[in-house]
């Protein structure tokens, strides 16, 4: 089956920042992304877990974005402006996609 090269960007960020990040991605012309829940984790700022939490403050989400390689830089610039100062983790990986016309 024919596949096409693409980049997979995953950004783990505090839940209250989700809307800002989405808005920034959309303004940067990113055509699609998905938001995945994160249950808990650990990092330099300690351990956390969403269990029993009421406030959105105590959690993070993962924004996953599949994108054409040539558009990666625009995405990273947009994301970085939001993530800067924040505790998020940004990773970029290679992948292949079916139906490249979608990206």
């Amino acid at each position: 089956m024919e596949t096409h090269k693409a980049k997979r960007v995953a950004i783990i960020i505090e839940a209250p920042m989700e809307r800002r990040l989405s808005d920034a991605l959309i303004s940067a012309g990113v055509t699609g992304f998905s938001i995945l829940p994160v249950l808990g984790g650990s990092g330099r700022s300690g351990k956390w877990s969403r269990e029993g939490q009421v406030s959105r403050a105590g959690g993070m989400v993962q924004v996953v974005c599949i994108i054409r390689p040539e558009r990666l830089d625009a995405l990273l610039d947009a994301a970085f402006k939001v993530v800067e100062n924040h505790i998020g983790v940004v990773t970029i990986g290679d992948c292949e996609v079916l139906r490249a016309e979608r990206f």
Binding site: E14, A15, P16, M17, R19, R20, S45, G46, K47, W48, S49, R50, E51, G52, Q53, V54, S55, R56, A57, G58, N85, H86, I87
Partner: protein, 326 residues
């Protein structure tokens, strides 16, 4: 004094406090007991809706006290002013950075609606009446403290403001404010009639839901305390016990000046004494991301909340009763 002790004892032996203690003990002992996030949120929606609605229905029933506007304004002023006091106290008592101190201060200017609900429960069980519109005062007091804290930060660090239009909207339309004000309005509009229709949902099971919600809060508070051992120095901890008394005394004076009923004074004191743990933490994540959440969450939920729940409220009731002769 005897009155305080008796009240505190009665309070400590109530199902809601014991449920909180159970949760706290369970998580300090590292039990894997947890309440799912969705259930905890569902219960908080229920509690906010119920408390707002009942407040509105009470206003509909008793007519609008002329003091409403005054109480709302006073609440807003308190919420804006207390962070300055809290900030000063923190700078004197502790070694927290400016940012951390400002973030903590925002929490103490704002309010904890569950503490408010717990105070209402105590008032009910003691048969002390209060103004229904105090719920609206609670809603008004959620946000100004955040503005005060950001002002403190920009003044002391010289940094430009971190408030943008989006953040304003988020703060003013955060879930608890909207639900509280909205259900207050619905209660007010539908009045006795509306209350009759849904009272077996929002009144009868209320205390029981509150027990489970406090069980969950105990679990979360205990987890926070376990994980924050590093940052909770003795002075920071002491602040968490002193500040509610200090903030509460501002609330007390305000309530007396406004001429509120005994119950109203208790609630105003409680609001001023309580610290936010839902709305403000979320706002701080956005506006002051460099501030350490462990500090403000643990202080608010792990120290001040239990203090108010167990000793604070009985003290506020006793003092307010003595001073209003109620």
């Amino acid at each position: 004094m005897d009155g305080i002790l008796a009240l505190a004892a009665a309070n400590l032996g109530s199902p809601i406090i014991l449920s909180f203690a159970l949760g706290l003990a369970a998580s300090l002992a590292r039990s894997e007991l947890t309440v799912p996030e969705a259930v905890a949120k569902g219960m908080s929606i229920y509690l906010l809706f119920a408390i707002g609605f009942k407040g509105g229905a009470a206003v509909a029933a008793n007519g609008l006290d002329a003091a409403l506007i005054g109480a709302l304004l006073a609440g807003a002023v308190l919420s804006f002013a207390i962070p300055f006091v809290a900030f000063g106290l923190l700078r004197v008592m502790t070694k927290l950075s400016t940012l951390d101190a400002a973030a903590v201060a925002a929490h103490y200017g704002s309010i904890s609606i569950v503490t408010f609900v717990a105070a209402t429960s105590v008032l009910n069980s003691q048969g002390i009446a209060s103004e229904g519109y105090m719920v609206a005062v609670a809603a008004v007091m959620e946000a100004p403290a955040i503005v005060a804290a950001l002002f403190l930060v920009s003044r002391t660090t010289g940094g430009s403001g971190r408030m943008d239009a989006e953040l304003w909207r988020e703060i003013l339309l955060n879930g608890s404010i909207v639900l509280l004000v909205g259900s207050f309005a619905i209660g007010w509009i539908t009045g006795e009639d509306g209350l009759a229709q849904i009272s077996s949902f929002i009144i009868s099971p209320f205390q029981g839901v509150l027990c489970l919600f406090l069980l969950d809060m105990g679990l979360v508070a205990g987890r926070g305390l376990r994980q924050a051992r590093g940052v909770m120095t003795a002075p920071v901890f002491m602040f968490g016990l002193l500040m509610p008394l200090l903030g509460g005394s501002f609330g007390l004076v305000t309530g007396l000046l406004l001429g509120l009923s005994t119950g109203g004074v208790v609630l105003m004191t409680t609001l001023a004494a309580s610290a936010s743990y839902i709305a403000v933490p979320a706002a701080m994540r956005v506006a002051l991301p460099e501030a350490n959440p462990s500090i403000y969450l643990t202080l608010s939920l792990g120290v001040t909340f239990p203090f108010n729940l167990t000793l604070g409220i009985p003290i506020y009731v006793a003092v307010a009763s003595a001073l209003t002769g109620g």
